[in-house]
Symmetry: C2
Subunit: 279 residues, 2 copies
């Protein structure tokens, strides 16, 4: 599978990509006023203005049958949720994007903290945009097991957990999906239950592998092309390549770029060519 990692600002570098050449764009851009030390720290009131030229290029490079999934969440400013994400959706529609769906990522391990006026924020948006109504969607690729999941988990659930989360929370979406082949499966919903990865000092990803994995399965087939214009630690490109898709990743910060490149290339080496190691 081709792996194309590009160092530079995606606003410029996207122009090098041909029209209608990408099947899935999955990305998590730097959030407003977040990661200020590493990225420029885009302020909340400039965010839409900053993003629109990029989304315009993304619209160009996406195939008519392709999908753009945007992982984003607005921050709190002076005790209020900012509205720049809503404004972004409205403006992107004016650019020609179709806002097809909003998935919810329920973050099972949300950031701790206590405030007098709000609880911990445990969810993020996964906005699905399309170029046309005839986009590819491979629903069977993400079917999840039913029934047995809840039963097997019941053993491990304490009484407290039952009270808290209910025992019928069957949105199973784990790594052992292969174990469930042959059993009864159902289609998932638009709510995803995943924990963020933590305790990875070398590359702390903003989202777990399972997140891009799910969307790569859902919206692409093997041999298709996946693009992440804000590569970060490289999770999207790594996952896409691992799954037999071509991957394009763009990252503006050299430090992140190097980490992502090293991580992806070494991981893929051990993944696909272990025999070389022993010969």
């Amino acid at each position: 599978m081709a792996l194309n990692l590009i160092l530079g600002d995606c606003k410029d570098k996207l122009k090098c990509l041909p029209d209608c050449s990408v099947d899935l764009i999955f990305t998590s851009p730097p959030y407003a006023d977040q990661r200020k030390t590493t990225y420029g720290g885009i302020s909340t009131d400039k965010y839409v203005e900053w993003f629109l030229p990029i989304s315009k290029e993304l619209l160009r490079v996406l195939k008519p049958t392709g999908t753009f999934v945007l992982n984003i969440k607005e921050k709190v400013v002076e005790s209020e949720r900012s509205t720049y994400v809503m404004e972004l959706i409205i403006e992107m529609r004016k650019q020609g994007w179709l806002w097809t769906e909003e998935f919810i990522w329920h973050k099972k391990n949300s950031f701790p903290g206590k405030w007098s006026n709000r609880f911990r924020d445990a969810w993020e948006r996964l906005l699905q945009f399309n170029k046309t109504k005839q986009f590819n969607m491979y629903q069977d690729a993400v079917r999840v097991p039913v029934g047995t999941w809840a039963k097997s988990r019941l053993k491990n659930l304490s009484e407290i957990d039952k009270i808290r989360d209910g025992a019928k929370n069957g949105s199973g979406f784990g790594k052992n999906v292969s174990n469930w082949i042959g059993r009864e499966t159902v289609y998932p919903t638009n709510v995803l239950h995943l924990a963020t990865e933590c305790h990875n000092k070398n590359h702390s990803a903003a989202f777990p592998d399972e997140l891009p994995e799910w969307f790569v399965k859902l919206f692409t087939e093997e041999g298709d092309t996946v693009l992440d214009p804000f590569l970060g630690s490289g999770t999207t490109a790594y996952v896409a390549n691992k799954m037999g898709r071509n991957a394009i990743g763009i990252e503006v910060l050299e430090e992140y770029f190097d980490i992502a490149k090293t991580r992806i290339e070494t991981s893929l080496l051990t993944l696909f060519e272990p025999q070389i190691q022993y010969e």
Copy 2:
């Protein structure tokens, strides 16, 4: 507890309520293009225009320390999610509302169905609006059991042992108890996991009792006043009254109004005065 059920259009009837008299507004208005035969079918492009005069009245009747929780979800129109909810938030802020938070109601048993271009919709928005930044929030009223698995459950058991030992000695008891209580419950997040009601055939409520119950606990104390301007089958008013809050409910449709009134009054009768039945 006072129960005030009003038959009529809330746009008019709200004008009869005094300024700054309500502690919590919890409501689920008719969604755009839903219930067409009943509410005259508010179209998606007229929705904001239709709602703004009502939200203006709601702003007037709410106490400065009060909260408005709006349960809403945009519908799909021609394969796209409508943007009227986003536009509504932006316009309500212009009216003077503070958009404090967005809770997610994860519907554990979402409506079944299968479509080629989307999965089942398993979540709804619970938009929290406030009049001022100094609103009442009783966070301790909604604490949940700590999310421990088997391993830390053992840890809790050892804590219990400590308490027992302390009790034998007769000293240090209080301190251990307070530590233990602190570990047993935690504050919830802004994601609510509730199933929709499916066991009540007589009245199909838009949401389960637990939904308004949670917000009534969180934002009011006993003796406070809860308002639902779109009463529907009466869940909000019933729950509020059951919990010792004054309830005001407005419903435009006589058919719905009668059902709600009967349901609430008979339920409360058996709830509070069972002895009358036997005397």
